[in-house]
Symmetry: C2
Subunit: 348 residues, 2 copies
């Protein structure tokens, strides 16, 4: 079955509504920036790279009917960027993508609005294409860290649904499965939103990769039983020192991996590295609606008026990360020094 | 609201069907040993101490209509014990309770069947009454480990629903709340069966104790944020060296507590200590139906034909346990030596 998390048909943006997966494959149509904002906010589309691409097209949809001069076009683009960036605060790819669009406009602000609109659309398409290329490389580099008969543990969804193609951590899994024999996966269901049970299980099945689904609280026990060769997760934002924000439970896995002496890898395109912040302390952690915790699969499970914490992400400190798999290669500690080197890479 | 996990009305046993909590309070009637077996197996009643009491009454229900001589009565009791013990393999309290009934019969096997039936019923009632007394003491001893403004983390349900009264780990929480000011609780929802979200949240609300519900994968992050003073869990079986089988996720919390230097306590009556096994390696781990993992709150969440692991329990090695809170006092390491001392306690 062919599915795409997002595509632009030349007129409108189509987004696969992931809230209804794995049972219903339904696309929603985004006509304007508000449709894109809502799709991100309501998690019709999710995954750091995918929401970056969505936001880039959101910039275009918000600007294509603009009627005014170039100066006002720039102002409108700035407003749009702020608006779209606020849809979800933790993943840096969103703000990174809208910044790329805005930078392209600023570089060419002396041109007429017609050309600016074309440049915006071209840049959004470029962001989309680059995502697929980058993820392919992540898979190539990351798969070097695994070998025959390995069982790879992962959390959340980092596959084609979370990106444009291939995925991030999922790309490492997929490429390892293609290259080696006996590759198995253990997927955490990833409460509260169940991206593991709903989306990763769906993508693993589609790819024919053998896997076991577990509840998040079984992760330590399967490590203790020796069932896990290595762990690969995605990332929503990586600070310069390697501290990584990702789906809540990632930090849990990193601590458990450390205790069980299992390698713990983070896989992300370099657009996920926030070169403007030194440590994870500066990364905002999104807290979402309490309903996500008091409900499961749309059904209430906890008593009425139950109070919850609902941190969507956590921060894994760099000292628990064995290596960061990027599209420019595998980066080992010291991350502060070695991530900074990427800044000077011409392919960045 | 008054609720009891189990009671005998002089004729039949009533069991609060916990599968429908917290929304429906429904009791089911057990007329015979098969009804008890099914109630335990299907988790209408759960919690190590509570299923011990249920099994004791199951022995009585299976024997009260017995028509034969004392020798055959003994044989019938042995069969019943094997049958009931097989309902769930991990919790030792079940086999411990049926053994108490059988031992009472064996001690008095030269008496007539009429008297034996009376002794069986008396012993079942005694097991029920002792459970409440023991749990009260667990709360008294355990609360000494906490103080004002502490936030206590717990997993699964260990309250009155898991026992006859007060609970085990829950008794420690409740007594701490009564004795100190500013006590708060963080309850893990405890997938796949959601005993935390459904039952512990229900009991905490009934008791008026402030709490936050979290998904299991948030546990590490709230520890990292400094929100947890100590962790108390129940136990399904404790080996002589202190290794503890309990709800899956307990071992995860123990590793996370160790990493974050947070005290990790196990609370259980001494009927939970299996003096016949040296280490946790000998404890059988129940694996339950895959439906529990592929579904949540009765609704399918994972694709069809998804394979899962569903370990209901895990083993926490003794070196990760700060202390074991029993009805005879708080036991510190070395557990091998100090648990053995309990064997000579006259109140055992």
């Amino acid at each position: 079955m062919e599915y795409r998390s997002i595509y632009f048909d030349g007129d409108v943006v189509h987004i696969l509504d992931q809230r209804y997966l794995p049972f219903d494959i339904t696309y929603c149509v985004c006509n304007n920036e508000k449709d894109i904002f809502d799709a991100i906010r309501e998690m019709k589309i999710r995954g750091a790279p995918a929401i970056g691409v969505a936001a880039a097209y959101g910039m275009y949809l918000g600007l294509r009917d603009f009627d005014g001069d170039s100066n006002d076009f720039v102002e409108k683009a700035k407003e749009l960027k702020s608006y779209l960036d606020s849809a979800r605060p933790t993943a840096v790819n969103l703000a990174w993508a809208t910044k790329r669009i805005l930078d392209k406009i600023l570089e060419n602000k002396n041109n007429d609005v017609f050309l600016l609109k074309k440049l915006v659309l071209d840049e959004a398409k470029k962001i989309e294409e680059e995502d697929a290329e980058r993820n392919y490389k992540i898979g190539e580099y990351g798969s070097e860290l695994f070998s025959d008969n390995d069982t790879i543990m992962t959390i959340c969804n980092t596959g084609a649904l979370a990106t444009v193609k291939y995925g991030t951590a999922f790309s490492v899994i997929k490429r390892s499965y293609e290259k080696y024999t006996g590759i198995n996966v253990i997927a955490l269901e990833t409460r509260p939103y169940l991206q593991g049970a709903r989306l990763t299980a769906f993508e693993l099945k589609e790819a024919g990769i053998p896997f076991k689904l577990i509840t998040d609280n079984m992760s330590a026990f399967v490590m203790q039983k020796g069932l896990v060769s290595g762990i690969v997760t995605g990332a929503d934002r990586i600070a310069l020192n390697g501290d990584t924000a990702n789906k809540v439970g990632t930090y849990m896995l990193a601590v458990l991996a450390y205790y069980h002496k299992i390698p713990f890898y983070v896989a992300a395109p370099i657009s996920t590295i926030d070169f403007s912040i030194e440590t994870g302390k500066k990364i905002p952690i999104e807290e979402r609606s309490l309903d996500e915790v008091t409900h499961c699969g749309g059904k209430r499970i906890a008593p009425y008026d139950t109070e919850v914490y609902n941190f969507s992400f956590d921060i894994t400190p760099h000292e628990l990360i064995t290596a960061i798999i990027t599209d420019l290669g595998v980066v080992y500690p010291p991350f502060k020094k070695n991530l900074r080197k990427l800044l000077s890479n011409p392919n960045r």
